[in-house]
Amino acid sequence: MTAQRPTALIAEDEPLLRESLEQQLSLVWPALAVVARARNGREAIDQFDEHHPDVCFLDVHMPGVTGIEAARHIGHRAHLVFVTAYDQYAVQAFAQGVLDYLVKPVDATRLAQTVARLQERLRTAMSAVNTEVLLQELAATLERQSAAAPLRWIRASVGQTVTLIPVQDVDFLRAEEKYTLVMWHEAGGNVREAIIRTPLKELAAQLDATQFAQVHRSVIVNLSSIARVVRGSNETANVHLKGRLEVLPVSRSYLHLFHQM
């Protein structure tokens, strides 16, 4: 136990909230010295490595590196308090774990309770309760939130500009050697095409499986663009599209898709 003042880092991307938290802390915990302030996760990591504060207040949502990612870098080396605005998933995750958290706008009573707990831990020289497993789960939850949705836009160079094609306007995709041919229609019905570098296989994994179906080794079709499926002899079929002349082959191994149609 040293007589030194406890130190803290505040990482928060919104300057007003950063200053406000520092102000509130100075009232409930006058002994605490805020030695570092960060505007994003990357700065938080740098500042932590430089100052080694006892306590870190980390905003969960920050540009670039998030508060959770910064927390994983800090690990057991400091007591952590997460700060988040209303965010169902994060708050649920925090409430289940043993991690400390504050909800914005920060309530003074709640802050006082958190501070009391931190002071107790510092006094008894208890080690930080941050567990890597918990943080990993949290990071995964946040990642899922932002990445779980299926692909909505396909980037394609059309002339000089890079255009984003809404996937629901795509009629079909065809693999052409290293490239993928994107056949789509505009809202007005004009048919368009574009070539992209992303391989078909990579796109297939990201597309919404309820909207798109692979009908051939090299063809993925938008189910809502299908006008009709015509069965041929010898276990084959052709897909005819709405408002398009192209006829797509269905290979034998994908024929089961249309058994009900």
Binding site: E14, Y86, A149, W153, A187
Partner: protein
């Protein structure tokens, strides 16, 4: 409007030998037999069975040509075909009736009175059946009209449901607790330190909320109102990220009274903040430009934030629902085009027909 034939195909003709039809045929045959009775010396059951055979022959002909051939030339009405079929079916049916009731030896020419009976049965049968057919066709026409009305009503209600859905999603998208609580936290921070800015922020928040909430019930607002909302939103976001967010609004004043579906420009701006500026450590500038081009209104929002990640994941709920709203409001006449900005950033542009608001 669907044509009678097309609708008949869509909902399908009634069952060929459904009970309602058989009942009508039985009843008609019975009446027909009563009508014929005084002219025949034969027992009533023979007359009745002959009438019934003719009746069913007519019914089959009517039903058969109701569904076959599936398509007729435009100039050839189906009811004409059906009447012709009955005119042919009745003599054949009458012959069959004689054949059946005479044990396979109709001998129309040989037995006295038989030919006269056959002719009588045929002609009165044709007359009788024709009236019934006309009655049936009129009734069917009414039924089709009702059916058609129901089909249109269904279609209309489906469209209304989709419009309602879109508005409902708008409502859900609008009440963004993360935005609201973060902004309130800023207001609280300003109030606590007694900053004079507090009143201004609160004013912007109120303007934003007031502008946002009643719009859910309106289907059309003006660009003027839309811009007011956009300004309030951007001012709030500027307070929250003063070092990272810059913005510029370029607008032709003549456009301000034009119609704009609610939240159109705002959705683009929110999207630019959320997916362009907010995730960027250094932030960027948002440029909003409104202009008129060959009687179309063009609204573009360009930001120099992070742009899109490789696959463009994460971006979209707001834009996808905007696309849907535009489609419901303008059909194929509205467009939303996204393109990338070099070296990083995103440009979103909507265009829709320029219309003045009703005075």
């Amino acid at each position: 409007m669907l044509t009678h034939d097309a609708l008949a195909q869509r909902i399908g003709p009634p069952a060929l030998l459904g009970w309602p039809r058989v009942r009508v045929a039985l009843l008609a045959s019975f009446v027909f037999a009563l009508f014929l009775r005084p002219n025949f010396v034969l027992p009533f059951y023979v007359v009745l069975s002959r009438a019934m055979v003719v009746g069913f022959a007519a019914l089959l002909a009517f039903g058969l040509f109701e569904r076959w051939p599936a398509r007729l030339p435009r100039w050839f009405a189906r009811w004409v075909l059906q009447v012709l079929a009955i005119v042919l079916a009745v003599p054949l049916g009458a012959y069959l009736a004689y054949w059946l009731t005479t044990g396979g030896h109709p001998q129309l020419g040989a037995v006295s009175g038989r030919l006269q009976g056959y002719v009588e049965l045929t002609f009165s049968g044709i007359l009788f059946a024709s009236w019934i057919v006309v009655g049936a066709l009129v009734r069917q026409r009414d039924a089709f009209a009702r059916e058609q009305e129901t089909a249109f009503a269904l279609e209309r209600s489906e469209l209304e449901r989709r419009a309602l859905d879109a508005r409902f999603r708008l409502l859900q998208a609008q009440v963004e607790p993360h935005f609201l609580f973060n902004t309130l936290a800023n207001v609280q921070a300003l109030v606590e330190v007694g900053a004079p800015q507090a009143a201004k922020v609160l004013k912007s928040l109120i303007a934003y909320l007031r502008a946002a909430v009643p719009r859910l019930h309106e289907t059309v607002t003006t660009l003027d109102q839309e811009l007011e909302l956009v300004r309030a939103y951007l001012e709030l976001m500027h307070i929250r990220m003063p070092d990272r967010l810059m913005f510029e609004i370029r607008v032709d004043a003549t456009l301000l009274k034009l119609q704009c579906p609610p939240m159109t420009v705002l959705t683009l701006v929110e999207n630019a903040v959320r997916h362009g500026i907010d995730p960027s450590e250094t932030g960027g500038i948002i440029v909003i430009e409104l202009r008129l081009e060959s009687s179309r209104c063009l609204a573009s929002v360009t930001n120099t934030g992070v742009g899109l990640k490789m696959t463009g994941r994460g971006l979209g709920t707001g834009l996808a629902s905007l696309r849907e709203r535009l489609q419901l409001a303008f059909g194929a006449e509205a467009q939303l085009v996204l393109s990338e900005v070099v070296p990083h950033g995103l440009r979103a542009e909507v265009s829709f027909p320029a219309r003045k608001t009703q005075p």
